[in-house]
Symmetry: C2
Subunit: 339 residues, 2 copies
């Protein structure tokens, strides 16, 4: 049996292009290829994430570089076809599979997926997955929020940003979204419940941000880097907390992002660099809390779904240009039960 | 009776020049000028501090701008000549007097000075004063030190840096000094007990710093900004703590200091902007601890003393060029008891 997979055709420069990735066919792994402790899984929903841009350029900490012709890495929701002990056939797991239809994975690396009623399984890749945990760690571990604080979030409608923004709102804070484009600005307030939103592409966005934050910015979650980071840091309130967790600008080979030191001193700011892998200890509480909020309709999620593995390169390019709306998922296969 | 004072002759640009300040003569205040709640004091030791550069340029937060012809501000150890209730004639106080021989001060602003045996009164302007409190707050409140941590301090032989470096050494840390010039590099290790020192003027200073910190930098107190800040941040260890408390480079109209965001995220760093005024609550404990350490000879101080108010402008210029060695004090007058 042949399967499709997406491989690296060329190291991306600047914005990733579809030609940097290539669809390939090869023999799919079968039950006979599974050894002890492994499982054969079928990929259903593939997660498309910004950090992959750094992996493809060989500069993501903790990830091996991808050779030319090598499989593009990525996490998926997958269905267990050949189980290992402790797993069952047909069970859904969240696991690193890469961009392909079938994968052999170590059972120890696979997390069982179980969603509350009404929450799509793919939430395990977004609001209930790594992006959500990133936001949860940022908000609960580093932001030290008090009701009434002004909290600014960049990339505010993405899975990290929208989780953080909603958690901060539920904690009684005034939340302000920084987004790219008027559509996302509308979405931020109307769908995700931010009190205000600012389109960073507007020439006067810093003035608009200042107007939306009359008492300054008490906490800021940066997913942007670059000019957005500098602009928000200039608006910090006394005692502000800044969490850095992604540098979208820099992923696309933008210049190294920098922070101005003067406002950090003058406003007595605290800044934290966050890498989600450090915060696995929060996962049980995070999963319980956010699943309940989703189930009760107090938090919302938003996904942009693409059909078929062949759509993955284009979906990734959209994401890296900020043209996506919500968490980007590629539906590689449907479960029999779903259709 | 006439007195000497130093006034602002010209707003400094770049490095402050002696011509930016001017010695003036005017009638000294007398007992008849003292109203209720005030005291007449005679300045003995005048403190010369880097933050004054920003005050003279009208850009120091929380300080009024100095008009042309206006008195240069500054703290002193002064002797009470006409006391207020709660003070006695001949008592020593630490108080804002400006750069002049006599001053009328509010009694409420004057702190009584009492030093342990063998510690000079001028320590109240350095290691036991604002610079020392800055270092103490940085080390005890923000550095979260563990014995064995590698702690880097810039401007490491100045009053802030040398206090921080010695406190960190006494806390069981490997301390590394970043200083300007070979003389200070020698002083850092031989006099202040740093384990190693690096001359930031050496072209390969970053490599030397890396060699002195084989496990990376766990905590960094920045008094420098500019290139030094960027160079040390590139060497941070995982979980590093950075405290920003001064930007010498920028005081001299250098370009705004910036921090690179990538290492702050990758090393999961925490950064704190420190302004000493926020940490007055630490003062009693700070004074008790550091006074004891000085008295017992476990900590050392170093002063560069200049004689006479006329020497103050030159001393300030030396300080801002980093040519001073230790805390800069101008001895404006001697106490009768001292001679």
């Amino acid at each position: 049996v042949l399967q499709q997979r997406v491989v690296l055709a060329r190291i991306p420069r600047g914005f990733v292009a579809e030609e940097d990735l290539r669809l390939a066919e090869e023999a799919a792994p079968g039950p006979g290829d599974v050894v002890d402790g492994e499982m054969l899984v079928r990929v259903l929903d593939l997660s498309i994430d910004p950090y992959l841009r750094g992996v493809l350029a060989g500069r993501h900490l903790g990830s091996a570089a991808v050779p030319l012709g090598g499989l593009v890495p990525g996490r998926s929701i997958a269905e267990v076809v050949v189980p290992s002990s402790g797993h069952a056939v047909g069970e859904l797991v969240c696991v690193e599979t890469g961009w392909q239809e079938w994968a052999i994975v170590r059972a120890a690396d696979a997390q069982r997926v179980s969603m509350p009623e009404g929450v799509p399984r793919s939430a395990a890749l977004g609001v209930l997955g790594m992006p959500g945990l990133t936001a949860y760690a940022a908000v609960t571990r580093f932001m030290a929020l008090t009701p009434g604080d002004t909290v600014v979030v960049s990339a505010a409608t993405g899975p990290v940003g929208s989780t953080a923004g909603q958690l901060a709102r539920l904690a009684g804070c005034l939340t302000v979204a920084v987004v790219g484009g008027p559509e996302k600005a509308r979405l931020a307030t109307e769908y995700f419940g931010y009190a205000a939103s600012v389109d960073r592409r507007a020439p006067d966005w810093v003035d608009r941000l200042a107007a939306a934050c009359p008492d300054g910015v008490d906490a800021y979650l940066d997913n942007a880097g670059g000019e957005v980071l500098r602009g928000v840091v200039a608006q910090l309130a006394y005692g502000a907390r800044v969490v850095l967790c992604g540098l979208m600008d820099q992923y696309n080979d933008g210049p190294p992002s920098v922070l101005p030191a003067t406002p950090l001193i003058g406003r007595r700011a605290t800044l934290h660099g966050l890498v989600v892998y450090d915060h696995e200890d929060l996962r049980p509480r995070f999963t319980a809390r956010v699943a309940t909020l989703l189930r009760d309709g107090r938090m919302r999620l938003l996904e942009e779904r693409h059909a078929g593995l062949a759509a993955a390169p284009g979906a990734f390019c959209r994401l890296m240009r900020g043209e996506n709306v919500g968490k980007v998922i590629v539906e590689v296969a449907s479960r029999d039960a779903d259709t």
